[in-house]
């Protein structure tokens, strides 16, 4: 369920658009809740990293981007993929490992790809996607295409050398890339303050002369506006941009994580700022959403998730004879 691209000069908040944003966040929330259940039931294997709590970042960002822009995503990317318009069924089927999954069962939860939507993965190596994004932007520059490459990564990535190499290259070559850092405060179990000497991480980008700012990642409209502004700057040729979205994941790092490193109180505090509940409340207070409409959106979101599960269940297994396909391009 892709949301139509809106030019940045348009006012962000009208009823229809607001409902679309809310609907998409609800789909992602319920999709992830269902995924957790299916993982426990043995339908999904491997790692499963849930996006619950962070929905406003992907939904706000994708709403501000154009179809010709490119996305490089992380391994916590179900929400990023769905917000970009990759059908939920295709994402779910991928987690089932089915041939109708968006990577034909080769990638799983961490490696969603979609060429048609310029969605360049689902990258499982922290910070590994940043150089790729730099290169995609370089290709655009060399071919004189005025579009943006948006690279998602977590705050854990800023400790990696590839982050620093990429900042420098992008700034040095003035490339049209938007670095979108989802700062959820924990790199697996390591709190930001336990791993970084400078915890105000958007300042790191400034050191490379990359324009940077932070935005409230729990506020979908703030994210949309910031990404629209940043992407416009990037497309104009003003060089790279760094946006830090301050957010929080409610669930453990992955399904294998017993969460020994943080207290329940912290999670409870962040849930008070839930991106879905707070956005719905705001719309209701502004007269843009009724209780009945909210219920209908929620029901519709569940229907989409149920459809995704049905499609995944219905999907075929890739024949084992195809195992070695697509290692190299077939001659």
């Amino acid at each position: 369920m892709s949301i139509a691209h809106r030019p940045p000069h348009e006012p962000a908040l009208d009823r229809e658009h607001a409902h679309e944003l809310l609907a998409q966040m609800l789909v992602i929330r319920h999709f992830e809740e269902k995924a957790a259940e299916l993982y426990s039931g043995g339908k999904i294997r491997g790692f499963l990293h849930l996006y619950i709590g962070e929905e406003a970042v992907a939904v706000g960002a994708m709403a501000a981007l154009a179809p010709e822009d490119a996305i490089v995503a992380t391994y916590r990317e179900h929400g990023q993929a769905i917000a970009r318009g990759v059908p939920a069924a295709s994402v779910m089927a991928e987690m089932y490992g089915k041939a109708n999954g968006c990577s034909r069962g080769r990638g799983g939860s961490m490696h969603m790809f979609d060429a048609e939507r310029r969605f360049y993965g689902g990258q499982g190596i922290v910070a590994g996607g940043l150089p790729l994004a730099v290169g995609l932007a370089l290709a655009d520059r060399m071919q004189a295409r005025p579009r943006a490459t948006v690279c998602f990564f977590g705050e854990g990535a800023v400790a990696e050398g590839e982050f620093h190499e990429s900042m420098n290259l992008a700034a040095l070559w003035k490339l049209p890339v938007l670095f979108l850092c989802e700062n959820n405060l924990y790199a697996m179990g390591t709190a930001l303050a336990r791993s970084e000497s400078e915890t105000d991480i958007h300042l790191k980008a400034q050191n490379y002369r990359v324009q940077s700012e932070w935005v409230d990642g729990m506020d979908v409209l703030a994210v949309e506006a910031a990404v629209a502004r940043a992407a416009a700057s990037v497309r104009r040729g003003d060089g790279p941009y760094f946006l830090e979205a301050r957010t929080f994941r409610y669930r453990a790092h992955s399904m294998a994580d017993p969460e020994l490193y943080r207290g329940k109180d912290e999670v409870t505090e962040w849930k008070k700022r839930d991106p879905i509940a707070s956005f719905a409340a705001r719309l209701q207070s502004e007269g843009l959403l009724t209780e009945a409409e909210l219920e209908a959106l929620d029901t519709e979101a569940w229907r989409e998730v149920d459809w995704a599960v049905e499609e995944a269940e219905r999907g075929e297994w890739e024949p084992v004879e195809h195992l070695e396909r697509d290692v190299h391009t077939a001659p």
Binding site: G128, L132, E165, T329
Partner: protein
């Protein structure tokens, strides 16, 4: 035809490819103004300008990864890593990203990128600038590995690499750069074919890359002693042409495998294992190998020579099989 060197042959391939296809560009450390650490790209900046002969900071992972991204974005990058030793700083991008993207995306994305790097010992560069890791790269499905050993191959295989839809690693043994030859091809060669560089009947000497000149010398020595050795040059390590190797052993029934990797885990070990799988019944003697000694490369000339495969060892190994 006038003679050209191995390094000029590589330069000629890059120049021709860049003239023919605007998507092709070169990037790496000091490839532009400096002309390349091994002078391979000397003069290309004047013809193609700084956008296409792109100097990079010392960020191997960053610019190799940018090569992957540029390839995804429709370009045909040639990434020069100064030496194979520095490629260790870019292993994540090469192994975790370039090699996996096609398969991991269910065939949706290809990475048509060529990564060139100098490799090997023999020049007094000591323990951090003399490695042979081609077997590591050949271990990885998703990348092709070329080890041109002749001037003609330096050009013809690179032209072929630039037509590949997937990542290709080209290892250029640094002792080969000044070698002269006089017949370079105008068209890309086929990837995945070994070549018999010297026909013979009594023993097969199987090698590649920087060890080919030594192995040919060993065959000359053996000939003086009345031993007719056949020399097989693998040319590409992945895909590996075992048909040519097995065809040679079907004639000679004996084989010595020569490479410059450390013996433990050397690519020679892989070739030996395949000979065992495919041609055990042809063998009249155990297959043996001549590899580097198990020591970080020493600086002093006599020590380095003792650490690397030498002509005398190849001759002795071959004679030991007769």
């Amino acid at each position: 035809m006038s003679k050209i060197t191995y390094r000029e042959a590589i330069r000629a391939a890059m120049r021709e490819a860049m003239r023919a296809d605007p998507r092709v560009f070169l990037m790496g450390e000091d490839v532009g103004r400096y002309g390349g650490a091994f002078a391979v790209s000397l003069g290309l900046l004047d013809e193609f300008g700084p956008e296409r002969i792109r100097d990079t900071p010392l960020s191997e992972s960053g610019f190799l990864g940018a090569g992957i991204g540029a390839a995804l974005g429709g370009m045909r990058p040639i990434v020069e890593i100064m030496t194979v030793n520095f490629s260790l700083l870019a292993l994540d991008q090469l192994v975790n990203h370039a090699a996996t993207l096609r398969h991991m995306s269910g065939g949706q994305f290809s990475v048509p990128m060529v990564v060139r790097m100098a490799s090997g010992g023999g020049r007094g560069m000591a323990a951090q600038h003399s490695h042979s890791f081609e077997g590591w790269y050949a271990h990885v499905p998703g990348i092709k590995v070329l080890t041109p050993a002749t001037v003609a191959d330096a050009k013809g295989l690179l032209l072929a690499a630039l037509e590949e839809p997937d990542p290709v690693v080209v290892l250029e043994h640094a002792t080969l750069y000044p070698v002269e030859g006089d017949d370079t091809p105008d068209a890309p060669m086929e990837i995945g074919l070994a070549a018999v560089r010297r026909p013979g009947a009594r023993v097969s000497l199987v090698t590649y890359g920087g060890s080919l000149p030594k192995t040919l010398k060993a065959a000359d020595e053996l000939a003086k002693e009345g031993v007719d050795a056949e020399v097989v040059d693998l040319r590409t390590l992945r895909p590996l042409d075992m048909d040519t190797v097995v065809g040679s052993i079907a004639k000679t029934h004996r084989a010595v495998v020569v490479d410059e990797m450390w013996k433990t885990g050397s690519f020679a070990g892989e070739v030996m294992a395949r000979i065992m799988e495919l041609a055990f019944d042809e063998l009249d003697a155990p297959v043996v190998r001549v590899c580097s000694r198990e020591v970080p490369m020493p600086y002093a000339k006599h020590l380095e020579e003792a650490a690397l495969p030498q002509v005398g060892q190849i001759v002795a190994a071959a004679k030991g099989l007769l």
